[in-house]
């Protein structure tokens, strides 16, 4: 199964090269959004479907290429002071909001200092290191940090640090502002219409500041609740692009063999979703390090990738994924080795006590994956009982630490201080959320290293600290590292330039064009 799809990807890798032909303007793209987003005001709502649709309406100061280097967007240039404490951004001067008002440095200050500080947890995590934000003139903004913060330059993507219009929101109740029903951004597409349950329509921003962009006249996001119906919508030609996660994995090989169909897993580099197995470090067999190591040896992660994920994605070496910075490549991988797993279990004296496993309630692939893991574990003598929940139940069980093993996946956001340390820091242990240090891992040295590394300066110093922390984590196995997920985007090959950045799944239609 892996081979044909890998070929398809290689082939469209070629297709995705800068096209020889001149881009053509015109045409509307029909695509799918699943599930229906709760609203479209990025910054107020950060869930995946909102990011994917509204990433075309709103913009951030920067974009990132697929290696996560910053690219200009609303800011054309930027400088970092030698001590890593002051960052100066120079803004474009010809930008207007969708309602015609000019975009200025005041909007940046308002968005960051007022709007996001109040509403946005992911921006708050960065802003706690920021002492002041000032507009020195209409098109210059200076951020002053209280201490150096390594990943600061990675925080300006549209979904994390959305620019919202000051003249619309200032002095209002943000969440109940009338304008939330008609979002106003600076992006290449304007909000046109939302028929709840049916479609969200975006149209070209005729006054967009980048010459000639966007090429498309509009984008229609169809809302189709059933996975099989979404596949049919692509098959019968109603939609041309199936973004990540919109069809079940077992439909992917069939769809990718259709004529004029390309598939890519690019555009996720910034998020780099990392599937993990929570293991409860507090009680039961999973509290023993040897048990957790045994689980790592028992699982056949390559099999899961090749069969359940169509060969997409990468088996991670350890706690830091391949797209994360500062990965320590010298660690000994946890290969599939049932014999070693049995030895570890014997050594700890595992008595066959039953452990519960919660699959992620996100569809068929995850259910099957749980079955595969259950089978792997039972091969080495671990007694597993799978318990199905819905999303609400899953949230609650994890938030109250009521599990032994549980699937999840987390975004890595390009830097360990943004997306990785949160899983292991002991001051991030708190009931009520399924996204913090749910496993209950506590290690003083790890806390020290992560905290120091986040604000260490310069980069070499950070690298050293992160390499040491990875060695400890690799030995302790606080959680199981399953797979760096490769989510396929399926599209007609004559849609060109669909993914042009490391956040491409969310801002892709800016550069896209249709070849007739």
């Amino acid at each position: 199964m892996k081979t044909p799809l890998a070929c398809a990807i290689a082939a469209c890798g070629l297709a995705a090269l800068p096209a020889m032909a001149e881009p053509q303007s015109g045409g509307v793209i029909n695509t799918v959004i699943q599930p229906e987003p709760p609203g479209l005001v990025l910054g107020m709502i950060q869930n995946a479907p909102t990011r994917t649709v509204a990433g075309n309406i709103y913009e951030g100061l920067l974009r990132y290429d697929t290696d996560l280097n910053p690219m200009p967007q609303l800011a054309t240039s930027w400088e970092e002071s030698d001590d890593g404490l002051t960052y100066t951004f120079h803004l474009r001067e010809d930008v207007t909001w969708h309602d015609g008002e000019p975009f200025t440095a005041e909007d940046v200050v308002f968005s960051a200092d007022v709007f996001h500080r109040e509403l946005n947890p992911s921006a708050r995590a960065v802003l706690q290191h920021v002492e002041s934000i000032e507009a020195t003139d209409d098109h210059t903004v200076v951020f002053t940090l209280s201490q150096p913060f390594g990943p600061f330059m990675l925080s300006f993507e549209a979904g994390t640090f959305t620019m919202v219009p000051k003249h619309v929101y200032e002095g209002t109740d943000f969440r109940n502002n009338e304008a939330n029903n008609h979002p106003i951004g600076t992006g290449p597409f304007k909000f046109e219409n939302w028929d709840r349950g049916t479609v969200i329509e975006l149209v070209k921003n005729e006054d967009y500041y980048e010459e000639g962009l966007p090429y498309l006249d509009g984008v229609n996001w169809h809302i189709i609740p059933d996975g099989a119906s979404r596949a049919v919508a692509y098959e019968n030609g109603t939609v041309d692009v199936l973004p990540y996660g919109t069809v079940e994995n077992f439909d992917v090989p069939r769809l990718s063999e259709m004529e004029n169909t390309c598939i890519t897993q690019e555009g996720h580099e910034y998020f780099s979703p990392f599937a993990m197995l929570w293991m409860n470090n507090r009680e039961g067999p999973t509290a023993d390090k040897r048990f957790r190591q045994a689980v790592m040896y028992a699982m056949n992660r390559e099999f899961a990738r090749d069969v359940l994920w169509n060969g997409l994605g990468e088996v991670p070496l350890s706690a830091f994924g391949s797209n994360a910075r500062f990965q320590n490549e010298d660690l000994e991988p946890y290969d599939h080795d049932p014999e070693k797993a049995r030895e570890l279990l014997d050594e700890m004296g595992y008595d066959g006590e039953e452990v519960t496993l919660l699959p992620l309630p996100y569809g068929e692939t995850w259910t099957r994956w749980a079955e595969a893991v259950q089978q792997n574990l039972s091969e080495v003598g671990i007694n597993v009982r799978t318990e199905s929940t819905d999303v609400g139940g899953w949230n609650q069980r994890l938030g109250e630490w009521d599990y032994d093993l549980a699937f999840t996946y987390l975004y890595q956001y390009g830097d360990p201080a943004l997306g990785i340390s949160r899983t292991y820091l002991s001051d991030n242990i708190e009931k009520g959320s399924p996204w913090n240090n749910v496993e209950g891992y506590e290690n003083e040295r790890v806390d020290e290293l992560f905290n120091e590394a986040a604000t260490a300066f310069p980069e070499e110093k950070r690298e050293e600290l992160y390499h040491e922390v990875q060695e400890i984590l690799h030995e302790d196995v606080p959680v199981g590292w399953l797979l760096e997920l490769g989510f396929p985007t399926i599209y007609r090959c004559n849609v060109k330039n669909l993914v042009t950045s490391g956040v491409g799944v969310n801002d892709g239609f800016k550069d896209a064009w249709i070849e007739e």
């Binding site: 509307v28 329509e201 229609n220 099989a228 049919v232 959320s433």
Partner: protein, 325 residues
């Protein structure tokens, strides 16, 4: 006069029943694990305690349960159904926006299944020992026993993917922006598959019930009398047998009509029909309490209304039913 008193009595009882339903549903929902704030935060993939606290405060979930109940009940008394946590809109607006789509779908299916079911059932009753009669019953059995979503998927495969005659999903052609008659035709075109899928199951039930009920009625003495006085077979079938066989069918039709608001979850999901059933399912998954309670309320109210209505129709169909029931 009798009718007016009857209706007044029934309406009075209905209010009490509705109130009990509201309170019962309110506590039932609280028993489901997880709360809407956690789910919303979970969807965002990143959260801190501050964010959860803000959401809970905004939704009023930080209040004791009896305060929440009081707020909800007193809200409903003024037709304020609260605010949908996830969709960020007033519940009443959401429900009213989705109601027409659902009523169009379930209403069409209702009429289709009732008409075709009674027709096929009478045919089968008239051809009781013939091949054609058995064929009708065999088909009815197949439709009755086949799961709805499977029929729906197969219908999409056949009529949309292979034959390309009908649209596979949705209520209108996205991006076409039709108006006037073009829009009506477009919607009708989209309605055919989901409405017939939904109608099949009930049609099968009506067919079976009509046949059984008519066969029973045809054994009655007045049928013999009618035959003896030389009436034509067709007239006997229609006037004497069918009319007397109608009561159980009306009962069932009343039940089906009561389900019109919430009864099409599967069909609406497979065909991406923007109706209430889907809204309810999503609200359940997201623990969108207010929205869910609002839909429960409307469904319950509709069931009650149709029960009253069914009772009235009984009296029309069979004048022997009188007095309080």
């Amino acid at each position: 006069m009798v009718y007016a008193r009857l209706i007044a009595m029934r309406l009075f009882k209905a209010v009490i029943v509705l109130f009990m339903i509201i309170v019962f549903n309110f506590f039932l929902i609280q028993m489901a694990p997880g709360d809407p704030a956690a789910i919303l935060a979970g969807e965002a993939g990143a959260t801190d305690q501050e964010f959860l606290r803000q959401l809970r405060e905004q939704f009023g979930l930080d209040q004791p349960l009896y305060v929440q109940l009081w707020r909800y009940v007193s809200g409903i008394a003024t037709l304020d159904f609260g605010y949908s946590y996830r969709q960020q809109m007033p519940v009443l607006d959401l429900i009213l926006a989705r109601l027409p789509a659902t009523l169009l779908l379930t209403g069409t299916a209702f009429v289709l299944s009732l008409a075709l079911g009674i027709f096929a059932g009478s045919m089968a009753a008239a051809r009781v020992k013939k091949v054609s009669g058995s064929l009708i019953m065999a088909l009815a059995l197949v439709f009755y026993a086949t799961p709805l979503f499977w029929v729906a998927l197969m219908a999409v495969l056949l009529f949309s993917v292979y034959l390309d005659w009908l649209p596979a999903y949705g209520m209108f052609t996205v991006g076409a922006h039709y108006t006037g008659w073009a829009h009506v035709l477009d919607v009708l075109n989209h309605l055919i598959l989901p409405a017939s899928t939904l109608a099949l199951f009930f049609m099968a039930i009506y067919t079976r019930m009509t046949r059984a009920s008519m066969l029973e009625a045809s054994q009655q003495d007045y049928v013999k009398t009618a035959r003896a006085k030389g009436l034509k077979d067709r007239v006997i079938q229609r006037r004497h047998i069918l009319r007397n066989a109608l009561l159980p069918i009306i009962t069932l039709a009343g039940l089906q009509a009561g389900q019109m608001v919430g009864g099409a979850i599967l069909t609406e999901t497979v065909f991406a029909w923007p109706g209430i059933g889907r809204l309810m399912y999503e609200a359940l998954m997201q623990r969108d309490y207010n929205l869910l309670l609002g839909i429960f309320f409307f469904s319950a109210a509709l069931v009650i209304v149709f029960n009253i209505f069914t009772d009235l129709v009984y009296r029309l169909a069979d004048p022997r039913i009188k007095g309080a029931s």
